[in-house]
Symmetry: C2
Subunit: 345 residues, 2 copies
């Protein structure tokens, strides 16, 4: 809310005017988006022969974000990206989103505009249309609930359930950075609360903080896979952490796996910062979550199609289910992977 010189209470504008005010900045860009905001429902005309994929994610203040260090524009951007990432994880193209907000009375019209500015930017970057939503007040914090819809040819669809024994396990980018970005932000918040006059030193942590506050979905990877005629046997996006997520694939595919610790990609800033926080870097990669990288399995003969691109790391192999879901450590030992869901309850 940095540039907000005016502050207009939402009550001054009213519900309908607020919605008009915000949605006029959005225009429809996909041919399948027949009718957007303004009626009881949006209308989508699916491309003949395509299937639709639908996903939804809800982010609640205090649980998924802290407004003390999360700019509203980044929050809006991220709330769209985490949904779109799920659409890509089905090997589909995102096309539409709906956005529901619950806003406490502390929010001004300008704050809502900031949030929607981030949503608009994500829609533009990922070529997605905002076609509907619901905006209500809340006695508690901010809640952002987004549903994303995508399109895919039936033969392109990739589920979590298709991994087979012998398949290679691949992951894009690097892991653990978003988690470490969060640790830095939490540390700076504590310092600020104790010593409000100390300036935070965030520059050297910029990469990690950006991974936390403004993640991107791997649109480029989906295009690469298509261009290189490479269809994964199973895929998902890394939202819970590598460990939980590889276990989702194993459970749905009824297989086991072995992940080789030495091959799990961790960036240099993540590695250094993990040590600074006295955490094992591999733990950040395995349990951190929110990386929004793609985790997928391929037939071994398809490995050459990765073209040696350095965004891909082959980090393990699918085994039979009897062998469980294991990590082969740098020291040569096998550990069972453990899943973590919410840390919140």
């Amino acid at each position: 809310m940095s540039e907000a010189t005016h502050t207009t209470p939402i009550s001054q504008l009213g519900e309908f005017a607020l919605i008009d005010h915000i949605t006029q900045k959005f225009s429809l860009q996909n041919s399948s988006s027949t009718h957007g905001v303004g009626d009881d429902a949006a209308v989508i005309t699916p491309t003949t022969g395509k299937q639709l994929v639908v996903t939804t994610d809800l982010m609640a203040e205090g649980i998924h974000f802290d407004l003390m260090y999360t700019p509203l524009k980044h929050l809006g951007y991220k709330a769209v990206v985490v949904n779109i990432s799920d659409i890509y994880a089905m090997n589909a193209e995102p096309k539409q989103i709906t956005v529901s907000l619950a806003l406490s009375s502390k929010f001004t019209v300008e704050a809502v505009e900031e949030l929607y500015e981030g949503i608009r930017l994500a829609c533009k970057n990922y070529k997605v249309d905002l076609v509907g939503g619901d905006t209500t007040s809340s006695y508690s914090g901010l809640v952002v609930s987004i549903t994303a819809i995508g399109e895919v040819a039936p033969e392109e669809l990739v589920y979590r359930s298709g991994a087979q024994v012998g398949d290679l396990i691949c992951v894009t980018g690097d892991l653990g950075a978003a988690y470490l970005g969060l640790q830095i932000l939490e540390r700076e918040k504590r310092i600020y609360l104790e010593h409000p006059d100390v300036q935070p030193e965030l520059e050297k942590s910029q990469y990690l903080i950006e991974r936390q506050l403004k993640p991107e979905a791997r649109k480029d990877v989906i295009r690469f896979l298509k261009d290189n005629d490479l269809k994964p046997t199973a895929m998902l996006d890394v939202s819970d952490g590598l460990s939980s997520d590889v276990m989702h694939i194993c459970k749905m595919s009824k297989v086991g796996c072995v992940i080789t610790e030495a091959t799990v990609p961790v960036s240099e800033p993540a590695y250094q910062t993990a040590l600074e926080f006295n955490i094992d870097p591999i733990t950040c990669a395995l349990s951190g979550g929110e990386d929004y990288e793609l985790l997928f399995t391929i037939r071994p003969e398809d490995e050459t199609k990765l073209n040696g691109e350095d965004t891909f790391s082959v980090i393990g192999e699918i085994t039979d289910t009897l062998q469980g879901t294991r990590l082969l450590t740098k020291g040569g030992n096998y550990h069972q992977l453990t899943a973590q869901g919410w840390k919140h309850f």
Copy 2:
């Protein structure tokens, strides 16, 4: 939570087990629901030639419901119905929903089961599939965010924007009852808080309370319209109140209207209870909202197709825009209608 003899903290079960536990009670019933819960996204195979309609509604504790007098099962049911009602308002058939929940730590596994029992019942009654969702914790109250998807042939679709001068304005059922049901529940809550030993007398108000706590969407009306080859020129569902909602049609259709007070349907219990509360019954119908009846316009020559069915009331006429949006009172005077959005901010 009446029958809950066990209380299991959600933390005991964990996120993934909770989702498995709840979704196993749901099965897919529509042929277009290709893949439901369990992957990054659900998969829908649209019927060839059909369009999809998408709507979303968010309900927040303290704003849209008070858990002191709202059974969780009813809440789950209503949260589905208000979305499905929007699908019918497009003259479409609801097919799928996604459900996102933010739950504070006071919720037990049994409470979540109660909520989903209502969702399941609504899915069964309206032949809709639960295909996805997101369940997270919340530091504040309960938030239920639902997205519904429906299907419609392009030529059947009815927007808000098609009303023309001379069209008749029709509404189904009766109006104002849900608002009065809420007033009764609020009154009983105040009495209970002051005198916890006084038993509430809710029997004679049963109709009104049910309209508030467990509304139904007018599936029967959509079928009637189809069976009688009657396509409205514009339609929406009465969620904000007749006044706001008829003004939505007028704004989108660029027309005016006159509503005849004497013809606005108010049930006998609503009428009596309004007087008891010293409110003009027509005010409840105009501004109460949450009736989830269908408000639509038809060409005058189509009036005979209503077959004199007593669920339909012809309550006014579309005029040109210069005449504004007016109410013709029982006393023969004209008043401007006024819109109300949120009462919450």
